[in-house]
């Protein structure tokens, strides 16, 4: 297990290093931020001074060296726009995004798995077919459009829930969260649902396909031959087998949930990292963009690492073969 962990950790570090290069080179190609930040009337000397202040006059490899060195110290540069460390600005927005992504994940799992299993157990029933039809909609309608539809129905027509913002927050362990106040919870429901819908459809399909497959296995028939109740067969024999692939995929999807939050945050004016990213791209605020990308990569890589470990804990076959290896 330890060998396995060390090896996985090594892979993660390589992935982060590769991303650092890609991000730096990619973002460098976006264009010269000075063109936007500086008054078009300013003189050549003023531009040169600004470029020098921001370190933009040095050769690319030197900028990259400085970038890496600073990044290792948690310093991803000063935002061109806010004049404060980019990392600090991102981190301020991180809790909002993480809260949104986690709540959406919990929603998509806690609704998606039962629905998917039901649809898998009775694929030809009306219920099973409706669940599948619903998941196809959730899958194929664009995310922003679903979000606007949610706003239209629940905020505009019914007036039950607010259309945007984060609402009242409370501080828990130094982190501001919405879900513990009634007002915050109300603000959270629609964006979380919006972010969850796509993943929920994925979870439903995954759970359904796996349930159908597992149902055909000899061990399910054997469980029936032992006289077990259908309840136990579904909740223990089937569920435990489908959880392995489903948890793996869902875990890996948490990372993309953070990325997907960009759309939802923009539609619902949710003050998270995603919205910050869009704003920063519009302003070519390079350090913030770089900080966002690096942090997201770090999050995704970490999540994948954790998921792998959980996966190996869940599946005895993986766990033991890794020990042998």
């Amino acid at each position: 297990m330890i060998v396995y962990l060390v090896r996985r950790l090594g892979q993660s570090l390589v992935a982060i290093a590769a991303m650092a290069v890609l991000v730096f080179v990619g973002v460098y190609a976006i264009g010269n931020p000075v063109d936007i930040l500086i008054n078009p009337e300013s003189t050549q000397a003023q531009i040169a001074a600004t470029m020098q202040r921001l370190g933009l006059d040095r050769p690319l490899w030197e900028q990259f060296g400085i970038f890496v060195w600073n990044a290792l110290h948690g310093d991803l540069g000063i935002s061109f726009v806010y004049g404060r460390p980019a990392m600090q600005i991102i981190l301020e927005r991180l809790p909002a995004t993480m809260e949104l992504a986690l709540v959406a994940l919990v929603l998509s799992v806690s609704i998606g798995i039962p629905l998917g299993v039901l649809a898998g157990l009775k694929p030809n029933s009306i219920g099973g077919r409706s669940i599948m039809a619903g998941s196809i909609l959730g899958f194929s309608l664009p995310n922003f459009w679903q979000g606007m539809l949610l706003i239209l129905i629940f905020a505009v027509l019914l007036g039950w829930l607010p259309a945007g913002g984060r609402g009242e927050t409370v501080e828990v362990l130094g982190i501001r969260v919405s879900f513990l106040t009634l007002d915050g919870l109300k603000h959270l429901i629609l964006p979380a649902m919006n972010l969850a819908l796509f993943k929920m459809s994925l979870v439903i399909r995954l759970a359904r396909a796996n349930t159908r497959e597992v149902c055909l296995q000899d061990y399910v028939k054997y469980a029936r031959a032992k006289g077990l109740s259908s309840r136990r067969i579904v909740l223990v024999h089937i569920l435990k087998n489908i959880l392995i692939p489903v948890v793996t995929i869902i875990g890996l999807e948490l990372g993309s949930m953070v990325a997907f939050a960009i759309v939802t945050e923009t539609v619902f004016a949710w003050p998270g990292m995603g919205k910050l990213l869009i704003d920063s791209i519009n302003l070519l605020d390079r350090p913030v963009i770089v900080a966002y990308l690096m942090l997201t990569v770090l999050i995704i890589v970490t999540i994948n690492l954790v998921v792998d470990v959980i996966y190996s804990l869940l599946d005895p076959r993986v766990r033991l073969s890794e020990v042998d290896a």
Partner: protein, 328 residues
């Protein structure tokens, strides 16, 4: 004393391509403590017969008619509620492939204890004790350690022993063993056969041993029932059937068992292949492959009692050779 009486059982699969009569009017009976060998080529309906007895036939299949009288009660009439109380308790089943029957993600103790608790309200501790005893009974050393293992840590033979132990947990009246040794190598197969035989003799449990391999059951079963295309075509006491089969199909099966032939000698295979259930010939379904077939065989032969304790479904049974054998 009769434990199980199957009468005219029919289990059909209603597929898109037509109705597959996988079990088509099967009758047999089984006494307590008796071992019945259910023999036939693959696809003849043996497994479906076994599953029907436990109400485990999955759609598109279902029992369409017949009776399964177990210890005086008709299970077909009793339906799922009655079958469920019997499954694993009074009728246990052992499946063909031990690699596939134990749940790969659950520990052995979980899978054994749940079987005990499905039918009895006892503490987990005494359930575990029962599992330990059952494992010891099928010759598994250090049961405590084994109980904490997962199926993939066991060899095929070991897993099948575990499956037999699970079948024994409630001391059932009947065990249906569906080709339980087919997936195992010959030595393990022989070991398990002799152990099972001993268990049956010791505990008086009855058994239906399903196999495509006559050699396996010839030393084990008291009675044989030979199946072909969903029907039983010959029944009788094992020794007598093997010595002098009545039905041409049974004769062919016996001739194809390797037995003391010289190495490399050709075995007499039955010509042709098992017919598709969706496209059976008119009359006797063995007709296209039968050396004795004639015009009479275009009618469906009945299962006739041809000798005391012997029956066969054939218009031209091998009675003549019998007489010759008796005369000499």
């Amino acid at each position: 004393m009769t434990l199980l009486q199957v009468e005219d059982l029919a289990t059909h699969f209603f597929t898109r391509d037509g109705v597959a009569k996988a079990v088509d009017g099967v009758s047999f009976s089984l006494d307590r403590g008796e071992i019945l060998g259910l023999v036939g080529e693959s696809g003849s309906g043996k497994s479906v017969t076994g599953f029907s007895l436990l109400g485990l036939v999955d759609p598109p299949g279902r029992i369409v008619s017949g009776k399964i009288v177990f210890d005086g009660e008709d299970l077909v009439k009793g339906g799922e509620p009655m079958m469920r109380t019997l499954r694993g308790k009074r009728i246990a089943m052992i499946f063909q492939d031990p690699m596939m029957t134990l749940n790969p993600v659950l520990r052995i103790d979980t899978q054994m204890v749940e079987t005990v608790l499905a039918h009895e309200r006892i503490s987990r501790k005494s359930a575990l004790e029962r599992c330990r005893e059952a494992l010891a009974r099928v010759g598994i050393a250090s049961p405590d350690e084994r109980l904490k293992s997962y199926p993939h840590q066991f060899s095929g033979g070991m897993r099948q022993r575990v499956a037999i132990a699970i079948a024994l947990l409630h001391e059932p009246d009947l065990i249906i063993a569906d080709e339980p040794t087919t997936a195992l190598d010959v030595t393990i197969q022989a070991q398990i056969l002799s152990e099972v035989q001993k268990l049956c003799a010791d505990t008086g449990l009855a058994m239906i041993w399903i196999t495509h391999d006559l050699a396996v059951v010839s030393g084990l079963a008291d009675q044989l029932a030979v199946m072909y295309a969903g029907k039983i075509i010959e029944t009788g006491e094992t020794g007598r059937v093997i010595e002098a089969p009545l039905h041409p199909y049974t004769k062919g099966l016996i001739a194809s068992v390797p037995q003391g032939q010289k190495h490399g000698a050709l075995l007499a295979q039955i010509p042709g292949t098992t017919p598709s259930l969706l496209n059976l010939p008119e009359g006797c379904s063995f007709r296209p492959r039968c050396p004795r077939a004639d015009a009479a065989c275009q009618e469906e032969p009945p299962l006739g009692a041809l000798l005391p304790g012997r029956a066969a479904r054939c218009f031209h049974p091998h009675l003549d050779e019998r007489r010759e054998a008796l005369a000499s």
